[in-house]
């Protein structure tokens, strides 16, 4: 029995990290109808910012983490300003390809950055405080501190986000933009500012995920964002892209599913990714709106 309980916790930790990342994907999509493919790289950059403040400039861990989250959030706003805003009225495919370009650019930026900070070689993530890495032992089951914190932080982020979207003026404007960008502009809302907020919040979420990811998997690498990004994107689709609660649910499902493949079919453990992406294809074929998504009405 103990191995299965252990696997359940393994899956929950992984799943809540995916969930946190998926929320960011789905929020930007829900408001702008656009998959930000650079989300994974923004997530990756948060780890490197933390490394800069902690290891190079010798800040305390918590300060380094908070600074890293703030800078990463700002980075998202700047990226939107420089790369996406000029394409506001371009065909969606142009924005999509630009997002891929941004993703490649960010990854390769890490490679050319100097060795004392980043570079092509792996770097250890700053050792988090004991509260994150401590091991709790319950019988034969061992749980790392992160396992408890990550789902709590993910749920807090989710609640905060729902509050922002449904209870504030900015949130109302975001929902209005999601319905119709032009009409919202005609009503006198400052579209560019609201979209900047959207990217700020999306990037902050990616950064929080990046820091927690580093606590759990303390290794930084320039292409760190790629696979978690793809899996979280899958989670967002499974949950119903555009639906924030759905993304959370999707994240947990993908995380648990990934662990379950190995737990129940250990000799097929090499096919872990194949299972995940088979789920993605299945959902796209059978239920493209995901678990909680509403069918999208085409605007005439």
């Amino acid at each position: 029995m103990a191995p299965y309980v252990q696997q359940l916790f393994n899956g929950l930790t992984l799943g809540s990290l995916y969930a946190l990342l998926a929320i960011g994907y789905t929020m930007v999509y829900g408001i702008l109808r656009f998959i930000n493919f650079a989300h994974g790289e923004i997530f990756m950059f948060a780890g490197y910012w933390a490394l800069l403040w902690f290891a190079v400039l010798k800040f305390p861990w918590w300060a380094a983490a908070v600074l890293a989250v703030a800078i990463t959030g700002l980075m998202g706003v700047i990226i939107e300003r420089l790369a996406y805003r000029p394409l506001r009225h371009a065909p969606r495919i142009s924005v999509f390809i630009t997002a891929m370009g941004v993703s490649i650019l960010l990854g390769n930026t890490i490679i050319v950055l100097p060795d004392w900070w980043a570079g092509g070689r792996q770097k250890p993530f700053p050792t988090p405080p004991a509260i994150m890495t401590r091991i709790f032992q319950l019988g034969d089951v061992r749980i790392q501190g992160v396992t408890i914190w990550v789902p709590l932080i993910a749920i807090a982020c989710l609640l905060g986000l729902l509050l922002l979207i449904y209870r504030t003026k900015v949130g109302r404007a975001m929902r209005a933009i999601a319905t119709d960008l032009e009409i919202t502009a005609l009503m006198g809302a400052n579209i560019n500012r609201i979209i900047s907020y959207t990217f700020l919040v999306g990037s902050l979420l990616a950064a929080v995920a990046g820091i927690l990811w580093g606590c759990r998997y303390p290794r930084l690498q320039w292409d760190l964002g790629l696979l978690p990004g793809l899996r979280s994107f899958t989670a967002a689709v499974v949950g119903g892209i555009g639906n924030i609660t759905g993304a959370m649910l999707g994240g947990f499902l993908i995380g648990l599913g990934e662990i379950a493949v190995v737990a129940f079919l250990p000799h097929l453990s090499g096919l872990r990714d194949a299972f995940i992406f088979a789920i993605l294809i299945l959902f796209l074929l059978v239920r493209p709106t995901g678990l909680l998504g509403k069918p999208l009405k085409e605007k005439v």
């Binding site: 490679i111 092509g120 070689r121 250890p124 998997y217 690498q221 000799h267």
Partner: protein
């Protein structure tokens, strides 16, 4: 940064040699390039051959077979190199092998231990030992030295190098009388190994053989210790990078792996000189990858000198009968298999350093193989 290729040129007054480096295992390519440049700068190795300067052209193969193929094509057709050094990893070497074979330009893999690499043809060489033997000596260490009777293998199924090592370990460990309880798969780029490790905890083997690269192994071993696994972890030369210690931290203490070189096992004069100069310049010891890169350079330059002309065909002939004292010891090329006989160095992570555990000579390894009928 990736694997390196080293090219060496035609009848022009220069002798360019290509070096293929870099990629996912970026540390290897970077180490190789820096080591060769360092050895040239301090005059440890010749910088001219046949009265002409040796010109090195580097190409980053990004540890990707397709990129290595592109690199080899570029080095041969555009840079007109007469020989190629590299790559560091077997996968990219196999990507470039068909191209050098067709063009008839010798390529000397630096730490490409997969047996497949030199089987492509007579222009494909290696400067290191072969995984058939590396897997066998690892099994011997597990069974005879650590006294393990049961093992679980964790293998990166997308790397030919890792899959090969796992196979040879399994065969040898079983032949010695041990039992392999399971073989679990991981993939390059994975970061979460808790599912596999929980399964290993259930099986409770005496030893874990994980012949993957440091890029994944360091994280895996950390998670193993977090999950309470106490078994020793055995690895291959893919562990030999400072990142294993930096990322693994105290968790990797006691991890043992097979590799090519350690400062305490140096016997040749050039090896001692390299070690001393390196220590003086950087304040730390050179790693296996650095020593092996210098060796590959020495072997190739020696072959060009003996060939008497900077012609790829003549160099191929000379390289296949190489017999030279290099940094890691005497290296004698087998003219038929193009695999040199090399000693096996076992290192152990101890107090944040790689310490020498023991050395198994090339002859002893051969006798061991014969004894267990492999």
């Amino acid at each position: 940064m990736g694997e390196v290729a080293f090219g060496s040129g035609g009848c022009a007054p220069r002798t360019p040699a290509g070096v293929l480096t870099g990629g996912g295992c970026a540390a290897y390519g970077k180490m190789a390039k820096d080591a060769i440049e360092f050895a040239r700068a301090i005059g440890l190795v010749p910088t001219e051959v046949l009265g002409r300067p040796i010109e090195l052209v580097y190409y980053d193969a990004r540890t990707e077979p397709a990129e290595a193929a592109l690199g080899a094509t570029r080095l041969i057709e555009v840079e007109k190199v007469v020989a190629i050094l590299g790559t560091m990893c077997s996968g990219p070497f196999l990507g470039a092998a068909e191209i050098v074979q067709k063009a008839g330009v010798p390529m000397l893999g630096i730490t490409t231990t997969s047996p497949l690499t030199t089987k492509v043809g007579e222009y494909c060489f290696r400067a290191c030992f072969v995984d058939d033997d590396q897997g066998v000596v690892a099994a011997w260490l597990g069974y005879e030295v650590l006294g393990a009777r049961t093992a679980v293998i964790v293998v990166d199924v997308v790397q030919p190098y890792c899959v090969g090592l796992a196979r040879f370990f399994e065969r040898a460990f079983t032949a010695l009388g041990g039992k392999v309880l399971a073989e679990l798969a991981v993939r390059t780029g994975d970061v979460d190994y808790t599912a596999q490790l929980t399964e290993i905890a259930r099986l409770n083997p005496d030893v874990i053989y994980c012949p993957n690269y440091y890029t994944e192994a360091a994280l895996m071993i950390r998670q193993a210790r977090d999950l309470g696994l106490k078994q020793p972890v055995l690895g291959g030369d893919g562990y030999d990078a400072p990142e294993l210690l930096e990322i693994g931290g105290p968790a990797v203490e006691g991890t043992v792996f097979t590799t090519f070189f350690h400062e305490d096992a140096v016997v040749t004069p050039i090896g001692l000189k390299f070690y001393a100069e390196y220590r003086k310049a950087f304040g730390r010891s050179p790693s296996s990858m650095e020593a092996m890169a210098v060796d590959a350079y020495l072997l190739m330059v020696d072959a060009i000198a003996r060939a008497g002309v900077a012609d790829p065909k003549a160099i191929q002939k000379a390289l296949s009968v190489a017999d030279l004292e290099v940094v890691t010891g005497r290296t004698i090329m087998d003219p038929v298999t193009r695999n040199p006989a090399k000693d096996f160095v076992f290192l152990e992570a101890r107090e944040g350093q790689f310490a020498l555990r023991l050395v198994l000579g090339a002859g002893e390894a051969k006798a061991l193989k014969a004894k267990i009928g492999l």
